[in-house]
């Protein structure tokens, strides 16, 4: 467990709790004939979260930091795959499912371990076309298949 992360998380969740309590005040009055409006539950939750976050922050000053043998973390690989996933999400609608899925898989396979292009291309093609045709044609689901020109 990392002290810095715990402190950071404690502060973030504290702010989230605070935001919830403040924003709950703005929830409009209910016409429902009850004293218990839609704001009670979020206010209560926000308050509890604030208390718990404060408790976590307090705890971070109490325990000894455990130093872990950090394994080598592969940031580069991860970022390439993550950014291609973000692009995949953004381009799914304009470019269609088949093209984006194919491209994403090719990039991700090669990032994980380069080489074996034939296998990469075969698996990526089979997956993207296979899923699309099975889903859209066979099961009648709707999925943007290809870009509309």
């Amino acid at each position: 467990m990392s002290k810095t992360f715990d402190r950071f998380a404690g502060i973030i969740f504290l702010l989230i709790g605070l935001l919830f309590v403040i924003e709950s005040q703005r929830i409009s009055e209910s016409s429902y004939g009850s004293e218990v409006g839609p704001d009670i539950f979020p206010i209560g939750l926000g308050t509890i979260l604030i208390l718990l976050s404060a408790r976590l922050l307090y705890e971070t000053f109490r325990y000894e930091a455990v130093i872990k043998n950090e394994e080598s973390i592969k940031y580069k690989k991860f970022f390439i795959i993550f950014i291609s996933a973000v692009l995949y999400a953004a381009l799914l609608e304009p470019l269609g499912y088949v093209i984006t899925t194919f491209l994403f898989l090719v990039i991700a396979f090669q990032t994980m371990e380069s080489g074996k292009w034939l296998q990469t291309l075969v698996i990526a093609t089979a997956f993207s076309f296979g899923v699309y045709y099975l889903f859209a044609e066979f099961l009648g689901g709707s999925l943007p298949g290809f870009p509309e020109f």
Partner: protein, 508 residues
């Protein structure tokens, strides 16, 4: 109609050809999920919800729900069978619930008795599956009758108990577990309030009116979180896979494991019924119990077959037992059952005491299909175990990107919005960071599923009492449930204060 009659009706549903197929696909995928280290039953089930939703989309709602839940539950208990395979052959548990199996299972494999260990694990799991199903059949009716007496106050307290139990056992730090629970409840309030119809925390964004989709969050936190973890901290798959050899156990093996299997089944079942205590805890307790019962405790850790038979039976029995609170009370006791519950709610079927009256074909069809599924697993796991062992060798290079692609497909096919894809990715990162720092995500998902129901019951109870919170303490049943909930949180704290170490439940 008697229970037996209902069960027979259930079998007539389970034996419809498409449901046999669904159960088969479910247990097959479940076994694969169990074998593959890195994908647990929780992410397996979460990933398959959208897939089953699209496959069953042409069927009438109730039949679609029955078929989907048959498949999804199959993944859940199938994973319990598969988890033992890697523990025994590779000394790497496929699931957290098979951790203790490595102790004796791998030793047996090194002595050339891998086949016997695997088949005993399968036989034990089968016996346990049947024991827990019989328990489920017997307890379903009486428990749901009790639950029918519940008013909103009792329901609120019961759900609070469920959350307290899961948070109390969920991780290293209870503060963190509780924070995750509250955060999950808060996420559940986003959207249009079901009671008053007022939009909360939507900031005029139409996409938020229906609330955050539970499925997206579950797939993101579990499946993507695990994928990101493996990409970032790729463990080297070293270690050779042990040879399996002779599959059938000897008579002596069977004799040695008969009692551990029975004990493990019963113990696992009762632990499974308790909310919060899942399959992992059951397998740990069973191992400890077997060591106590054994005449030769010194043999444990060197390849004692009882050390495989007991825990493997217990974890499967626990997964059956965990279905009881879900089906009869509508309270999921673990992360995986929370996801199963989310799937049922997607089909507009509310698990709980009325399930058995309103949708007998879903409830009894599921129970009957679990008998069929367990039989399939026994048949699959005995002769085909060598085939499954091959799955371990699936290169991560292809597996991880395909899991990302499947989750994208699943979320998009159900939601049709790019917003959910971005939410999915964000939850993936969040899931990775939270789990890495000991913030358990199972309570978050459980709270997200239970949140709207807790709030509704809270407000209904308070409306009945004109805003007086004492209603939760004056109703005896509600008071008892609240006391148990408080005890669940306080007792571990007290034990910790006294310096005792406690067994904690890993996510399962």
């Amino acid at each position: 109609m008697s229970t037996l009659q209902f069960l027979m009706d259930g079998f007539s549903i389970a034996f419809q050809w498409q449901n046999i197929l669904f159960a088969f696909v479910g247990v097959l995928i479940g076994t694969a999920v169990g074998v593959l280290p890195g994908i647990g039953p929780m992410s397996g089930v979460a990933l398959l919800i959208p897939v089953t939703a699209t496959i069953t989309s042409g069927m009438p709602t109730e039949a679609a729900a029955a078929s989907s839940i048959i498949l999804l539950a199959g993944v859940y208990y199938g994973a319990m069978y598969g988890g033992s395979t890697t523990s025994i052959l590779l000394n790497t548990p496929g699931e957290s619930s098979s951790v203790v199996t490595t102790l004796d299972g791998y030793q047996m494999a090194r002595q050339g008795r891998a086949g016997a260990a695997l088949s005993i694990a399968a036989i034990g799991s089968f016996a346990a599956g049947i024991v827990s199903l019989i328990g489920l059949v017997l307890l379903a009716e009486p428990l749901s009758n009790i639950a029918l007496q519940f008013g909103p106050a009792e329901y609120f307290s019961l759900m609070l108990l469920g959350l307290a139990a899961v948070s109390g056992l969920a991780g290293k730090s209870m503060t963190k577990a509780l924070m995750m629970t509250v955060f999950g409840l808060m996420l559940g309030t986003i959207g249009i309030d079901a009671v008053s119809g007022i939009a909360r925390f939507t900031y005029d964004l139409p996409i938020l009116y229906s609330g955050l989709e539970f499925l997206t969050i579950a797939v993101g936190l579990f499946a993507l979180g695990e994928v990101f973890k493996t990409i970032l901290e790729r463990e080297h798959e070293d270690g050779t896979i042990a040879k399996i050899g002779r599959i059938l156990p000897t008579k002596q093996d069977l004799k040695d494991s008969a009692k551990p299997i029975m004990r493990g089944s019963l113990l696992g079942f009762f632990i499974g019924v308790l909310p919060g205590a899942g399959a992992t805890l059951a397998s740990f307790f069973s191992y400890i119990a077997e060591k106590k019962f054994s005449k030769t405790p010194e043999k444990f850790g060197t390849g004692a077959i009882a050390g495989v038979a007991g825990p493997e039976s217990a974890n499967n029995a626990a997964s059956g037992g965990a279905m009881i609170p879900l089906l009869t009370l509508g309270i999921p006791g673990s992360g995986t059952t929370a996801i199963l519950m989310g799937a049922l709610i997607m089909y507009n079927i509310q698990p709980g005491p009325l399930l058995f009256d309103d949708h007998p074909e879903v409830a009894w069809g599921l129970i009957a299909s679990m008998f069929v599924g367990n039989l399939m697993l026994l048949i699959l796991n005995m002769p085909l175990v060598k085939v499954f062992a091959k799955i371990i060798e699936t290169p991560k290079k292809y597996l991880l990107p395909i899991i990302i692609a499947i989750s994208f497909f699943g979320v998009y096919a159900v939601q049709y919005t790019t917003f959910d894809l971005f939410l999915l990715l964000a939850c993936g990162i969040l899931g990775y960071l939270l789990v890495k720092n000991d913030f358990p995500v199972a309570p978050l998902v459980l709270a997200l599923v239970l949140g709207p129901m807790i709030e509704n019951n809270l407000r209904r109870a308070l409306t009945i009492s004109n805003g007086d919170f004492m209603i939760f303490f004056t109703k005896p049943l509600s008071l008892i449930l609240l006391i148990v909930a408080a005890a669940w949180l306080l007792i571990p704290l007290l034990l910790k204060f006294k310096g005792r170490t406690i067994v904690l439940n890993e996510e399962d």
